[in-house]
Chain length 346, copies 2
C-alpha cells in the first residue's frame, strides 16, 4: 500500500511535524511512503522518500523538489505536456497545529475527493480549539477539568484558586502553556500565551494528577491502543515533546485496574464515535477521585501515537478501507427548471 504523508504546514508545530513525518519511515515496514511537504509559504512539494531528512527543510534545499498543485482527484505535478497525478492510496495528515489540526487540509481533501486519514472538518474545528472541546465533552456527558476563558481584550482577572495552568486555546505541544502559582505571575503567563493565540483557557493545576493516554480508531471494529501513563515533569515542555514526536518503539501499558481501563476506553469511544471516524486520535485523561476527566484531545498526535499500538501499520491499512464517505448530493436543477417555466424566463 502507498501512503502519502502530508507534513509541514504554516503552523507553530511545523518543525515537529517534520520530525513526526520522518519517524514514519521507521514505523512503516511494508508500505510505500510518498512524502508531500507543505512549506511555511503553503506551497506543496514532493519529497524524495529515500533522502528525506530534517536538514532538507531547515536548509531550504527542499525547494529543489518537484512542486505540486492540489486539484480535484489529488496532488499534481505540472509539466510542459500536461499534469500528472501523484500516486497513492491514502493520505495520512501529519500536519500538527494550524493547517492540519484546524481542519484546512481536511476541508481541501474532502473537497477534492482525496481519501485521507485525519479528523474531518467538524471534528477538527471542535478539537483544535480547547474551549470547543469543553462544549463537545459536555454535550457527550464526558467530564472535564473546570476552566475559565479569557480573550486578549478581556480584563486579566480570574476567579479560580492558584496554582492554575494557562493554555492558548488553539495550540498543541505545550506551546505557550504556563503554570501560574500566584497572581503575581499571571500577567507574564498571559503575555506569553497571547503571543500565540487570541484566546486562552485557565484550568486548575492539579499537582501530581494521574494522567493516562488512550489512542485509537474505528475500522470495522474498535482498535484501541494500550493505555499509557506518560512520564512527565511538571508538564512536558516543547523541547521534550519534540523528542517525543520521534518515538517509534512500543511502550508498556500502564499498571491500572481493569475497571479503570474500561472506564478510560468507554470515555474514549464516547468522544470518538461518530465525530472522529476516519482518524486516529489520542485522548489525554486525568483521573481524579476515580473519575475520568478529559484533559485534551490530540486530533493528530505526535508520530500518530504509533508507539501505543501493536500493529500500527496494519491498522492504517484497515482504516484506509473504512473511511467515512461524504454524502452524495445530486443536483438536478429541478427548481431552476420549474421557476423558468413558471416565469417563462430566467
Amino acid at each position: 500500500m502507498n501512503i502519502a504523508i502530508l507534513f509541514g504546514g504554516s503552523s507553530f508545530e511545523h518543525e515537529i511535524s517534520i520530525v513526526s513525518a520522518i519517524t514514519m519511515k521507521k514505523v512503516f515496514k511494508k508500505s510505500t511512503l510518498t512524502y508531500i511537504f507543505v512549506d511555511s509559504n503553503r506551497e506543496f512539494y514532493l519529497i524524495d522518500t529515500k533522502t528525506i531528512n530534517s536538514k532538507l527543510f531547515s536548509s531550504g534545499e527542499y525547494k529543489k523538489s518537484k512542486q505540486l498543485t492540489l486539484k480535484k482527484g489529488g496532488f499534481f505535478i505540472d509539466g510542459i505536456f500536461g499534469s500528472k497525478v501523484v500516486d497513492f492510496d491514502v493520505a495520512l495528515n501529519l500536519i500538527h497545529g494550524r493547517d492540519g489540526e484546524d481542519g484546512k487540509m481536511a476541508s481541501m481533501m474532502e473537497f477534492y475527493g482525496i481519501p485521507f486519514i485525519s479528523p474531518r472538518m467538524e471534528a477538527s474545528a471542535l478539537s483544535y480549539n480547547k474551549l470547543y472541546t469543553k462544549f463537545l465533552a459536555q454535550s457527550l456527558g464526558v467530564k472535564t477539568v473546570d476552566y475559565e476563558y479569557l480573550s486578549k481584550n478581556d480584563e486579566r482577572k480570574i476567579t479560580m484558586a492558584y496554582p492554575v495552568i494557562i493554555k492558548p486555546v488553539r495550540l498543541g505541544s505545550s506551546i505557550g502553556v504556563s503554570i501560574v502559582k500566584s497572581e503575581a505571575e499571571l500577567d507574564y503567563a498571559l503575555d506569553v500565551a497571547f503571543e500565540f493565540d487570541t484566546d486562552v483557557i485557565v484550568e486548575p493545576f492539579i499537582e501530581g494528577v494521574k494522567e493516562y493516554n488512550q489512542a485509537g480508531c474505528y475500522t470495522q471494529e474498535w482498535e484501541l491502543s494500550i493505555v499509557e501513563e506518560p512520564h512527565k515533569e511538571e508538564f512536558l515542555d516543547f523541547e521534550k515533546k519534540y523528542m517525543d514526536f520521534s518515538r517509534d518503539s512500543q511502550v508498556l501499558a500502564a499498571d491500572i485496574s481493569d475497571d479503570l481501563k474500561v472506564k478510560i476506553q468507554e470515555t474514549f469511544k464516547k468522544i470518538y464515535d461518530p465525530l472522529f471516524k476516519g482518524s486516529i486520535i489520542r485522548c489525554d485523561f486525568f483521573v481524579v477521585d476515580d473519575e475520568v476527566l478529559l484533559n485534551e484531545i490530540n486530533p493528530i498526535p505526535g508520530s500518530m501515537a504509533n508507539y501505543l499500538f501493536e500493529d500500527f501499520e496494519g491498522m492504517i491499512s484497515r482504516l484506509s478501507k473504512h473511511l467515512p464517505r461524504e454524502q452524495n448530493i445530486t443536483i438536478d436543477y429541478q427548481y431552476i427548471h420549474s421557476i423558468q417555466s413558471a416565469k417563462g424566463k430566467a
Copy 2:
C-alpha cells in the same frame, strides 16, 4: 471595486446559490462583478458577467466557460503559456449549504491567502451545525429554544410535547424540515430529515411565535441592518424560500419598541463578535415573553440579506477593507537546528 462572487457548490442549496448570485447583479450598481462558479463536480468556472443567467447552469452550457484552478494567491486560468490569475479585490462567498457554509471554501481561501467575505472556518463549523450553534449560544449566554438531538441510529423517541419541529442539523433553507403534530407523524418526518443528514434536532413548535431577523457585520464600527419581521406561513417551504433568495429591494423595518430592538441588536453583537468577523450574517430570533431567543444563524444568508441594508454595496466595500487577518507564523527551524547540533546529525 471588483468583487468575485463565489457560488454553486456540491450542496443541496446549489440552485438557490445560483439565484442569490444572479441577484447580486441588480444589487451592485457601481462595482465590477467577477463570477466564479463551483459546479456539482467541484470544478471552478469563470462565468461571463454580461450573459449570466440560470439556464446557463441548468443546461450545462457553463462547461464552455474557462475552467479555473485554485492555487496560492487566487483562481488561475491555465493556458499554454502559463497561468494567469483572475483579477478581483475580494471574494464574496455566496455558496449556501455544504462547501460554502460548512467552512470548506473559507478553509481554502484562508490557506491560499485570498481575501474573502464569509465566516471563517471555526465560525462556519459552529454555525453550519444547528447542534453546535446551541453550544455556542450557551457559552455566550444567549438563550435558545429547547431542543433534543437524534442521530440516525438512535431510538426514535422524543420526550418533548407535540407539536415539534424537526430539522436536519446541517442544512438551511428549510430543507428536510417538518412540523410534527403528533407521535403518529414522527416517523415519516424523521425519514425525510434523515434523507438529508445523519443528525437532527427536535424543537418545540411555537404556534404564532414572534420572529425577527437581524443582519449585520463589523467594519470599523457596527453596521447593523433594520430588524425585519418576516412574513411567514407555518414556515417557509423550500420553493418560497427560493423566491426569497432573489430579493433585491429594501424592506420595511419591523414595528417594535426601541427596547426590543436594542435587545435584538445586543444579542446579535454577542454572537457576531469576534467569531464572525469578516462576514455578513443574519440571525433569526424568536421573542417569547419578552425574551430574545436565538433560533438560527444564517452564516451565508440568501442574497446576503442585501434587502435589509440601506447601503449594502458601501458596506461590502468597507468590510473588504477590514477583514480579519490570519496570525503571522514565522518558521525559523531553530528546534531542528538545535536538535541537529545536539545529535550531530538529523
